[in-house]
Symmetry: D2
Subunit: 328 residues, 4 copies
Amino acid sequence: EYGIPVNAIKGEDEKTYYKHINTALDNKPQLTVDDGADLVTTLHTQRKDLISDVIGGTEETTTGVIRLRSLEKAGGLRYPIIAVNDAQTKYLFDNRYGTGQSTIDGITRATNILWAGKKVVVCGYGWCGHGVALRAKGLGSQVIVTEVEPVRALEAVMDGYQVMPLIEAARLGDIFITIAGDKNVIDEAHLKVMKNGAILANSGHFNVEINIPALESLARSKRRIRPFVDEYTLKDGRHLYLLGEGRLVNLAAAEGHPASVMDMSFALQALCLEYMVKNRGSLETKVHPVPDEIDKQVARLKLNSMGINIDSLTPEQKQYLTSWQEGT
Amino acid sequence: EYGIPVNAIKGEDEKTYYKHINTALDNKPQLTVDDGADLVTTLHTQRKDLISDVIGGTEETTTGVIRLRSLEKAGGLRYPIIAVNDAQTKYLFDNRYGTGQSTIDGITRATNILWAGKKVVVCGYGWCGHGVALRAKGLGSQVIVTEVEPVRALEAVMDGYQVMPLIEAARLGDIFITIAGDKNVIDEAHLKVMKNGAILANSGHFNVEINIPALESLARSKRRIRPFVDEYTLKDGRHLYLLGEGRLVNLAAAEGHPASVMDMSFALQALCLEYMVKNRGSLETKVHPVPDEIDKQVARLKLNSMGINIDSLTPEQKQYLTSWQEGT
Amino acid sequence: EYGIPVNAIKGEDEKTYYKHINTALDNKPQLTVDDGADLVTTLHTQRKDLISDVIGGTEETTTGVIRLRSLEKAGGLRYPIIAVNDAQTKYLFDNRYGTGQSTIDGITRATNILWAGKKVVVCGYGWCGHGVALRAKGLGSQVIVTEVEPVRALEAVMDGYQVMPLIEAARLGDIFITIAGDKNVIDEAHLKVMKNGAILANSGHFNVEINIPALESLARSKRRIRPFVDEYTLKDGRHLYLLGEGRLVNLAAAEGHPASVMDMSFALQALCLEYMVKNRGSLETKVHPVPDEIDKQVARLKLNSMGINIDSLTPEQKQYLTSWQEGT
Amino acid sequence: EYGIPVNAIKGEDEKTYYKHINTALDNKPQLTVDDGADLVTTLHTQRKDLISDVIGGTEETTTGVIRLRSLEKAGGLRYPIIAVNDAQTKYLFDNRYGTGQSTIDGITRATNILWAGKKVVVCGYGWCGHGVALRAKGLGSQVIVTEVEPVRALEAVMDGYQVMPLIEAARLGDIFITIAGDKNVIDEAHLKVMKNGAILANSGHFNVEINIPALESLARSKRRIRPFVDEYTLKDGRHLYLLGEGRLVNLAAAEGHPASVMDMSFALQALCLEYMVKNRGSLETKVHPVPDEIDKQVARLKLNSMGINIDSLTPEQKQYLTSWQEGT
């Protein structure tokens, strides 16, 4: 409707995906808006000729930011990027409430299970994991969290969840949700001890968090019993159910994030791109945080759109916050 | 029992408090462990002669860190300080679960109210405010949050709380809890419109968050009806109940934080002091964050003490996290 | 697969619905299993000739039980009915967890809204209303309950919800869910004051709980913007969104209750029918409760199917419960 | 202040307790208001001469009602009793929100533990158990429920709690709370496998729910480490902590129920006594339920006192509810 060419289909394969990335790059972008860093990676490897024109870019996801920081550390980053993912108005909302709700929604649509009373194993307690655990609990599930980072693990304990190594949780869970940002989080050893009927879903990183090749090799047959639900019959007779082929279940089986959380991420993208153009030439070639004022501005816009007013500091209160002499 | 002299009484007045601070300083400390920055402030103003011996210090509270950052910014800080308060194993746990529970506990002990069905107004949605709101909700209260920072305000909305300016909440609340870290958060205008019977408690900053002089001047009489509960009879006939004279209600009316959250803060203090001694001379004179490794170590120790094991990354997973080439 | 003829289509109109009822009755049933009492009503009005063969029946829903009790009171009931709806293993589970989850699910599928931060008005706080309110809260919504029965209203207050008359809630809500078991719960007066963009869904009684004729007459146009979502543009310019034409949103836009809650209701049906046949002739012609032993048996079977064991009373404990002499 | 003689002391022994009961009976009551049925039992055994003057009585507790029903069943009940405990405005509120909060409060005051992250075993999932479990969860605990009644056990599962036999839970729990209404709920076998440091509290039935004689015989020493906390050192070296000598922990270590839940129970008592006097001579000699109209009246009075208005049915809606002809 606005004269912008769109290259998108549902259910595209990897080859088509990279063809689309290259088609997009053929437009010789001055700004890049990426989600997972595949476009930026392509630009830094196969399409290096285009880089000199690029003023800057933004990255939407945890995964992409991790990859870009690795690229920066390796000395390979060629233009400044703002890590939109690390903005408070992104990760506190999109990752937690957006991914939380939509992951649960995807699994519900795929399976029509009742969440009340189910043992749900959430692998990873980052912001997305927080959201998924909170929503599963809110629907009456018993939540077990697995985590490798001790501070997050402790937080999960204090939030009222059971925390244990995945090899123990694997024997207990009715539903497993990976959201750890790493590969083979659910690995062969775990698959071997799961209960008959266990459901496997990923809402984290591409389709690598569940070791699907291992699942394939343990299985003697596989059939699709509902859209997005593949029943694996293992050689020992157990059935395991893989949702959405192990790809992000909220995108595969539901509609992704609700509009009312994506609006904040898009506002961040737009304001950050504007900021990069305005500050062209003066930004270091590295991964930058979102400027705090943009973060606050997006929150203020969102509150306004919801009809919510808040207080502001009085001059006396501002003064108090900046002083160090006033004591007890 | 260990030969350490202690200067402490319950119910000390300000003069005695500062006498104790000075008595402590008379020992010519090489390390300072402070809670609110009063000792450090005294050292930087009246006891400057002692500063040259000090290797470094730690600060426990949000308030203290704010004051020390102001001092640093004003160019006045004279030795390095580690902001223990800003460690994840501090603010995620002590501020949230510790202050959350103990604030509610203090109010319960002072008043024996039933929380279910009460409208509780939480002024401030920092980590402490998160905890207080969560615990009030967990006891069946309707929680209203007031906040000046838009990102936090939005987070409160998404966490399911009502958010509004305090002047509106003032008309609705049964119980008001200030935990904003600023002065006159509840001011004369708010006191004027509160319902008869409203309860006022502070769990934030010294005794300045509720404007007590304003309350005194609106009142025609005042009497203590239970320990820690002062009934103010206003000139218009309404009764307002101020708990613990507006000082931290968890310390005044309950027993402060439970041991099982203070242990983490104390472990941080001890490990940070050790770190400062080990790195004597090489630390910049500024407010430092807690080294990440100390933070993780404290979390690991705490999990061990609770008998909880967690996973660790496989070499393959570590490798994956540091690479930027692997994509979709 | 079992040689049982089924008369069912999705999206049937009223005429077809009653044709199906009559086709079912043509089989001259000895037992009736009803959901809403339409079949039993037809039997007691147009098909009286068939009644003498009927041993008994079961009724699944709150609505149906209310109608059958009216029929009994009016002296018209002609054979015994067991009110399956009133079994604990029905209303505590199906009504609360089943309707709770599936109502939210239907609205999510129809609209893809984010529940976090939304003001959700639940009209009616029976067991179904309990479930809907609990699930909306569990997804981060602010829940407002309206109710006409004072004990339930008070329970909603103590459960932490806002309670007020609907005419006040109508101005505040983003989403309205009727689940009261009565007609015109949302009436013209409420529609007139709702916010632009409000969403209306029914999960209660047929399609009468929202006054749709009133909505039609307030509107100047109407269009379907997504499946199950009709946008009404009112004469004053506001838009209201009616889901699933005001019919049960969990059936219209989702898949109804999950299997793992329906299994209990069906077990109750089967065991109650068996009970009626076994006790043929000795049961009074009235609406009976489900025998307590059947209720417990269904719970026991369900726990077994989930792999959960529980304790049983020791002889000493049984003895203690039946004695009245043992005191303090 | 009203000329009513009171016979009460804190910490009374059994002999004094029964002396007080007899002193009260010496006043030749026409109405009895009992809590646990000890007074009524005394009247039916040692003071039979006084019974002929008694018009009726009320009973406040689950325990008392169980004993009175046993008495009725045994043919021994001599005057009508209204089971106030079974009123909705009693058990839905006092038992759940009152006992729930005050039990947790009693344990907090006795021990100052942090609830977040603790494994809390609730023995019994009646209304009181619902309340205790809900409040422990609301404070961040992991709750395990044990129950002998399958419907309640299943409800606990669906409410998101772990459910298992107590002998398994005994190995896991940090805190055990009995609220089952029976004796030796925690028995020798359970005590033998508990973790070092486990805390035992009773909020159920007199002091019989925890088998204290068994605990005494397993212990090699015992000392009071805080008010209401007895540390038992077992022969195998483990420490177990018994609160309030196994008596109701909310009465022993806290202040019992908050006034704002007791007011409803007392209103029920008063209105039921009035009802008995008005209906003198026409009430059967049995245990009666609270008349529904009194129940609703108490709820209405309570809502009014909280400033909450609710809707009432329109004539059209009342009509709809009583009809059975209107269908789909």
